[in-house]
């Protein structure tokens, strides 16, 4: 009896330890959420929600400061959309090729190259972009300066490739071979089979890949800060622009007072964007589970 209760006690203690460790993660999320909301709301109240979200001018240290973040919001949306427009087709076709057609050895080489691409720190992307891409854009398009929305879009497009390729590949590889065999037996060519059978069967997985890409692109700060020029302009392809992320990181170091509070409010807006993307992601993941 005594042994049994001792055993139970140990069980309970271990159970408790695991629970506490598990709660650390939840605690962190809660802490960040609460902190962002508490520190982000005051500035929005002071500036006014409409002026803050739809104001076209940002001049945080001016004698009469203006805190309009519409340029940042639009830049983040345009930048992410641009990265998706360029990155998704490349990533998608690469995934189809690797999952269905590529020879095994080539596939192995490609897969490790893609993993490597995923592991490169964002500051390195930014640095290469700054040294190669920015002067390149200036020369190719004959504009005064190459640090622009376009440069950021290209860098982001490359950065989201690994997650798009990997997740799409997993989804495509999970399509039951019987589906494809049936299609081939009916006389469809391999390419017809991939696009009419495999891809539709893996569509929720591919959608997940795209949403992951959106998440990575919208949250990236370091790399885009180094190539986008950081002036608070309304977005235009060859203009220097500032993203939601870079708006926070570029001014945080020296900020004070309402300016700092406004930066927290920008972080809050960014946080809401990410939440929205996560909700979308969950929606697709759920669809994936029910689909297969």
């Amino acid at each position: 009896m005594a042994i049994k209760s001792k055993k139970k006690l140990v069980e309970n203690i271990i159970h408790g330890v695991f629970l506490v460790l598990g709660l650390v993660t939840v605690g962190c999320v809660l802490l960040i959420t609460v902190y962002l909301i508490v520190s982000g709301i005051p500035a929005i109240r002071e500036i006014g929600l409409i002026d803050f979200l739809f104001g076209k001018e940002w001049a945080s240290t001016a004698a009469e400061p203006k805190y309009g973040i519409l340029p940042f919001i639009l830049t983040s949306i345009y930048g992410t959309a641009g990265a998706i427009v360029i990155g998704v087709p490349i990533g998608f076709f690469t995934a189809v090729y690797l999952a269905k057609q590529a020879p095994t050895k080539f596939k192995a080489v490609m897969e490790s190259a893609i993993s490597l691409l995923a592991g490169i720190p964002s500051v390195v992307y930014g640095f290469v972009g700054m040294m190669v891409l920015v002067p390149g854009i200036r020369k190719v398009f004959n504009v005064p300066d190459g640090a622009s929305l376009l440069a950021a879009i290209i860098v982001l497009a490359v950065m989201i490739l690994p997650s798009i390729i990997k997740v799409s590949m997993t989804a495509l590889e999970a399509v039951p071979k019987e589906y494809e065999d049936a299609s081939l037996a009916l006389g469809a060519t391999p390419v017809e089979t991939y696009f009419r059978v495999s891809v539709p069967a893996a569509k929720s997985g591919i959608a997940t890949a795209v949403v992951l890409g959106v998440g990575r692109a919208i949250g990236e700060a370091m790399a885009v800060m180094m190539v986008s020029g950081n002036a608070a302009n309304m977005p235009s392809l060859f203009q220097s622009v500032r993203f939601l992320t870079t708006a926070v990181s570029s001014e945080m170091a020296y900020s004070s007072g309402l300016q700092q509070q406004a930066l927290f409010s920008i972080a809050l807006v960014l946080f809401l964007f990410i939440m929205l993307i996560n909700a979308t992601l969950n929606f697709f993941l759920k669809g994936q589970k029910e689909g297969t």
Binding site: A59, S60, T61, A62, A63, M130, M131, V134, P135, R138, P144, D145, G146, A147, M225, M226, G229, N230, A231, A232, S240, R242, S249, S250, E251, A253, Y254, S255, S256, Q259
Partner: protein, 270 residues
């Protein structure tokens, strides 16, 4: 085998903990500084020399920016704040005092390929406010001028804009977050103009003269070079520095430190 592994982990963790405790118990005192990124070079050299002369003291410098440094002193998070601008009246009213350590010239830099070698302070102001947009208006090639600056709140930007009287009026093409970024960007674009701390200007860019006076230590010191600003040590009026911090403060403001300050490319105040 399993026990062995456990033992190793235990020993590792124990060492780490002991290490941490030992860190707390260290004798000799410490001095912490926090603030202006422009002052990194000079304060780093001074800190190094101070550590060398005094055994067992630790010197830390946190490159956060002038604003953050001033805030850190006010909140007691560091001993000495570093600011690359004079204190504002409001900051002095909060009980802070400033001691000028050195003067820093802000160099106006262009790409080495640019033929323009001299601008007046008015021309620089007109370029940055967008009144002059082409290099041919100031004697250069027929190319658009690309304005490179620093982010809002930067000490260098504040210094440049207050000296040229262009506050809140600069039409920056790029707002970069460090002196190094500004130099790299100007070095890679033949039509760019930027500003950076004189101490950090490298050969990859050309520092132009202002009103006929080339930026140099001598011209900054005698005041003939117009674009310059103070490097300030910020302390609290009614809080005494720790013994070590006071020693450091006395050392860097003494004549003994002048040589180090000079070799960091800025001009000592004394």
């Amino acid at each position: 085998m399993k026990n062995m592994k456990k033992l190793i982990y235990f020993v590792l963790i124990a060492t780490l903990l002991l290490g941490a405790l030992a860190g707390c118990a260290e004798k000799g005192g410490s001095v912490s500084t926090d603030g202006s990124t422009s002052m990194e070079k000079v304060i780093g050299a001074l800190g190094e020399a101070f550590e060398k002369n005094n055994k067992n003291v630790t010197f830390t410098y946190n490159p956060t920016g002038s604003g953050s440094g001033i805030k850190a002193v006010l909140e007691g998070r560091c001993d000495i704040g570093l600011s690359s601008r004079s204190l504002k009246e409001a900051e002095k009213a909060d009980g802070l005092i400033e001691t000028v350590l050195a003067y820093d010239g802000i160099a106006i830099i262009v790409n080495p390929a640019n033929s323009v070698a001299d601008l007046t302070l008015e021309q620089i102001a007109e370029i940055y406010t967008g009144k002059i947009t082409n290099w041919n208006e100031v004697g250069g090639k027929d190319e658009a001028i690309v304005l490179i600056g620093r982010e809002a709140g930067s000490g260098t930007r504040d210094g440049f804009e207050s000296i040229t009287d262009t506050k809140d009026a600069c039409q920056y093409r790029q707002e970069l977050t460090s002196t190094g970024d500004v130099i790299t960007t100007v070095a890679s674009n033949p039509n760019a103009i930027g500003y950076a701390s004189l101490a950090s200007v490298k050969d990859s860019v050309k520092a132009i003269s202002v009103g006929g006076v080339a930026p140099s230590e001598a011209t900054v010191k005698d005041g003939s070079y117009a674009v310059q600003r103070p490097f300030v040590l910020v302390t609290k009026k009614d809080t005494k520095l720790s013994a070590t911090a006071q020693k450091f403060f006395d050392y860097i403001t003494s004549a003994a430190a002048n040589q180090i300050i000079t070799s960091s490319g800025v001009v000592p105040a004394k």
